[in-house]
Subunit: 251 residues, 2 copies
Amino acid sequence: MQKQKAAQAFDVRAKGRRTPKVVDEAQYQSPLVTVDVVILTLRDGKLQLLLMKRASKPFRGVWALPGGYIHPEEDADLEAAARRILLAKAGIETPYMEQLQAFGNAQRDPRGWTATFAYFALIASDSLSLRHGSNAEEVAWWDVNEHGVEPALAFDHADIAASAVKRLRSKVEYTSLPVHLLPKKFTLPDLQRVYEQILGRRMDKSAFRKRMAEADFLEPVPGEVRAASNRPAQIYRIKRGLTTIFFDRTI
Amino acid sequence: MQKQKAAQAFDVRAKGRRTPKVVDEAQYQSPLVTVDVVILTLRDGKLQLLLMKRASKPFRGVWALPGGYIHPEEDADLEAAARRILLAKAGIETPYMEQLQAFGNAQRDPRGWTATFAYFALIASDSLSLRHGSNAEEVAWWDVNEHGVEPALAFDHADIAASAVKRLRSKVEYTSLPVHLLPKKFTLPDLQRVYEQILGRRMDKSAFRKRMAEADFLEPVPGEVRAASNRPAQIYRIKRGLTTIFFDRTI
DNA sequence: CCAATAGTGTCTTTCAGACATTATAAC
DNA sequence: GTTATAATGTCTGAAAGACACTATTGG
């Protein structure tokens, strides 16, 4: 443990500058790190996730999560990098983004030891513009079933995607997270349907509404209702300044 | 977004080799990344966390979390790196380690844009050997109070430590995580005291024991009891093969 | 009127919290 | 016996789940 080999590292302040510089303790250079985003939506009652066909090696032509490198000059922090990548590669600005997990080991990338900062995003399907990225054919939404997603994915992206879906299914049980899969304005039956679709089971209407009322994160939009050939439903929106609410108990 | 500057990156397979090599897409080199560990214990009824005095720049002589670089040749994955660092720097092998969160931005390190993979560990105070690391004076356990830890910490380590304490306090409410702050064998009153110390409130004995029985992760050690000048307490251990249990409801 | 869904009310069973009681050791 | 704490039992109020009922639209 007392390796005394003189070592070099690289000045991380100056992009473009390639002069090796001695940095204390840095006997090892940093592994290659990336940022990948799992973005989920709910369309036609199905959970879907965004994939891109890789344009370059390794795994050229293989489906993968949208991802990229950190741009130190542009990205204030890790989440900013994730948002920039999602916007640049898929044209999407998500209202909800959280850190999922870091994945790093010697096997996940044929180039060697790498790590990725995986992020987790949700978006309402109505917010999806059709024009994503430059090459429209290379970006697509894929259904998520119990076993994951249909195509084989590059790197360990199948694991990362599975981890994201697991987190969504878990958080649905005790948080208000599913609202981010709906447009800004929605009805309580709309919201209940989202919960039911993700959980895969029916829920009692009365209990569901009691829970949402207690959580106190929604407010009715005055005067607005959803008309149909039945009793119209009150339209709600998230109360200003509120983020994800954790329920007292499981749903 | 269409930067076409020819770029170089570094071959991450070969440690020591310093030949710049063209890697597809890599217009940006990886930022400096580290692994830091927040390890918590419970001693004398107080939550404590391990700090080290930094031996080198930046922040030389300032208290910091034990941390280090990834050693691609030795570390199978991120958690392995965290365990190696903890063992090498503090002589500690922890029974419980989970990923906390990644922290990365342009401000946290005076050297520039860096990121750290922060890990969260727990250990029983009776497992602590006194001989940690090479320089015993540079490693110490510090009390954690509501505002964090007494000394000013290097980098954003105060934030990272706060995040770890927050996670512990949160998980105590609904998981069996506190068992890892106790020796392998313990009594139910011992365990209840741990929960009470972390949560800072008294709990009902009957309800507590019911919860633990439901969770079904403990087994009595046959014939073993803790003697005292009162009714002796049954000694328990964690059932084989069981990891952290999530309770149905909040404690 | 009917059909369909939104929204509210009621009842029952379950369960968590508070508290009481019993058990078993040392002295 | 007393003291101290372990361990279990009982009671009660709150609340979750199941279900019934009412409300409001279009046709």
